[in-house]
Subunit: 425 residues, 2 copies
């Protein structure tokens, strides 16, 4: 990690910048994949499986037999853990349901919002080094609570044409029936346009590599919505004299193991905690199976000491971290200083892993500074709120003249007439 | 309008399609404008004002004197109408505030969401044929309720370098102090990147022509968020034997006058209402000042009669209209049939104009079928919801083993360690 002490404000913009990715070449490659899948459907998907996943697929959809087999592969300990986590995630996301509030803005003028599920949603789950069945919970559970009618899942097969059993098990547990063996940009294309086998959806969810991310971005130009723009995962920890350096080190490492492009930032008001944390990182990382990923991630990472705790929060708000851990016994006192963050962990026992798996909060969060203007995934992500209004004759009499005056001022006489014709009769 | 009776389902996809706009050439033009403003700031803006607005601007920001002058231009009748509408909009949007709910998913594990305003937002108000001061209310009021710290407004100057007084008056009324004389794609560029005069923002709001729309789309690639993708405005009216054909005609015309690319659709179960409505359209449009726009818009528009009211709703849900009017005495009975729409108007007195100006609902709504997956603008559009969690030692003891099991199954041992190290001590 790069160590800094009290960096000048003029440096902060640079320090809070994320590394930018090469774009134009990627865009052309991904654009070609989208177009090919749009034109040639399943045939293109099967060719890409051969090319990228090195497998000759016969069927794109996971069969009932494969689902049963996956279920039988999962041990009871893991089943219990998944069940336990899913209950917490369910409870927290179900609490996000909003009751309809009818507001009478003037006598006879009633306005309200009604939450209705997005009918068709698609979930992408990456394959690769970590089979993220936890993300199936994080996206599938709120989709089910919202009442989405069609929830489909795409994830890449391995070279034997198989999907990680825990992903199948988890999808089946929460009631996702349609699972497809398709990965990468081609999966995003399939869910965007539909193919002979895979239905098209209205909104795309889930993490992925740079191809998947670019494909989701391009899908926006084809009438799709996406959960949020994505970038490498990141954590920022704010520590003070009451922090436990072993815990802080463990939290920073848990983020660093996600990928070589992950970034972890330690802001501290205590030189001693910084020093001890850096030592603890060294000793804890020795035995990590993903040590080489961690080492690379730490190269892009900072340990910054500030004399003033307020500077820690100012810097953090400028960085707008995906995960923000306030590793302090005084965490509650700092809550109001937080303006930009995806998810916040308060106190020395609130580790990021808890939110990643089992506390109940969602782990699909805005990265790359997008926490300035985006929320993490929640029940809201799977619904739209439709406004309704019901106006009685009296109601229109009460608000009609204001409408007429404003419409006429904007030069929209037909807008005015729609009121006048009713008030006249 | 194109008249159809009971069209086959196989035709519906085609009938619900919106006309697509030319894209590649526009993209290059707008991309150049973005890059020029990014590189050359105010200088580029002043050059574009000369080129597109035919005016040599000395200052980009509307001065205090200009604001005072604008206020003095507005008559009391319009002032009262704007005040009246703004109160209704305020009441409805303030009711969208959510209380913090702390959910204890397990003993010692507390999770909640906190709504925090997006710090910096930019509002675009088009110039052109209708000076939309009503949109200033629709975007400015929820931004103020949310508590956005910086709210800026861009709108094109006329060839005298002036802004429509009603726009300045309305912005000033709701407390927007920074108003800039910049229009088109260059305004979106200025708010995205910032210039010497105009501050950059995190999220862009507001309608506009195809240049503005494309610029907002491209701004997504530069770390900005936007309110929603935009297309031509549209209304769908569902009528039955209880409808008033004069009112229906007036509502269809009020939408058709927005622009030549607007679309209006009448679905009816009554041949007589359809016939009478088409006649009423002819007679009502004679005296409209925007008659030529209306005529053009009606060419792309449909009047469809179905024998079954359920087909009307099926068609409407496939079309996903921006505005949906249920022109029926039985409107309440149909509410549960509505799945996709931006804003719904129930009953024969709920005209779209009411929601456009003064009932309290927002008029910035998803068009082009985006109502399938997007909500209209609301208080939600100006905030993000940050999740918080606070876990006690007991809390972590309660959920720790589930986290350990799941992390290990995903092969993320540092995630597991972050829990284990705490449980051990």
């Amino acid at each position: 990690m790069i160590k800094l002490k009290n960096p000048e404000r003029s440096q902060w913009d640079k320090l809070t910048q994320r590394p930018s990715l090469p774009s134009e070449d990627l865009k052309n490659k991904v654009g070609d994949i989208l177009e090919n899948v749009k034109q040639r459907g399943d045939t293109a998907l099967i060719e890409y499986a051969q090319l990228f996943d090195n497998v000759a697929l016969k069927n794109l959809q996971v069969s009932k037999e494969e689902i049963q087999l996956a279920i039988s592969c999962i041990g009871d300990t893991l089943k219990d853990a998944i069940q336990f986590a899913s209950e917490n995630i369910y409870v927290f996301h179900a609490s996000q349901k909003e009751e309809e509030k009818i507001i009478e803005t003037r006598p006879g003028v009633s306005c309200w919002r009604k939450s209705i599920a997005i009918e068709k949603v698609g979930i992408y789950i990456p394959g690769g080094t970590a089979p993220l069945f936890s993300t199936v919970l994080m996206l599938g559970i709120p989709a089910k609570i919202a009442g989405c009618k069609e929830i489909i899942l795409c994830t890449p097969p391995n070279s034997q044409g198989k999907i990680e059993p825990a992903i199948i098990y988890t999808a089946n547990l929460i009631g996702i029936e349609k699972i497809y063996k398709v990965g990468g940009a081609q999966a995003i294309a399939a869910m965007s346009f539909g193919t002979e086998t895979i239905p098209s959806v209205s909104k795309l969810f889930g993490p992925g590599n740079q191809y998947v991310t670019k494909a989701k971005e391009l899908a926006l130009n084809h009438g799709l919505a996406i959960d949020m723009p994505a970038g490498p995962s990141e954590v920022l920890v704010i520590a003070d004299g009451t922090s436990n350096s072993d815990y802080v080190a463990a939290d920073l490492l848990s983020q660093a193991e996600h990928g070589t492009d992950s970034q972890v930032i330690l802001l501290s008001t205590s030189d001693e905690i910084t020093r001890k944390t850096l030592m603890a990182i060294k000793s804890q990382m020795i035995n990590l199976p993903r040590k080489s990923i961690v080492e690379k991630a730490l190269e892009n990472s900072y340990a910054i000491t500030f004399d003033d705790i307020n500077f820690c929060f100012d810097f953090s708000n400028l960085y707008a971290p995906e995960h923000l851990i306030i590793a302090s016994d005084h965490a509650d006192d700092y809550v109001d200083k937080i303006i930009n963050a995806g998810s916040v962990f308060l106190g020395n026992y609130s580790c990021e892993s808890a939110g990643d798996y089992a506390s109940g909060t969602n782990h699909t969060l805005p990265t790359s500074g997008y926490a300035k203007q985006y929320s993490g995934t929640s029940l809201d992500s799977f619904i739209k709120k439709i406004t309704f209004q019901k106006i009685s004759k009296t109601g229109l009499e009460n608000i009609g003249s204001a409408i007429e005056v404003m419409a006429e001022s904007e030069g929209l006489m037909a807008h005015k007439n729609a009121v006048s014709i009713r008030l006249k009769s």
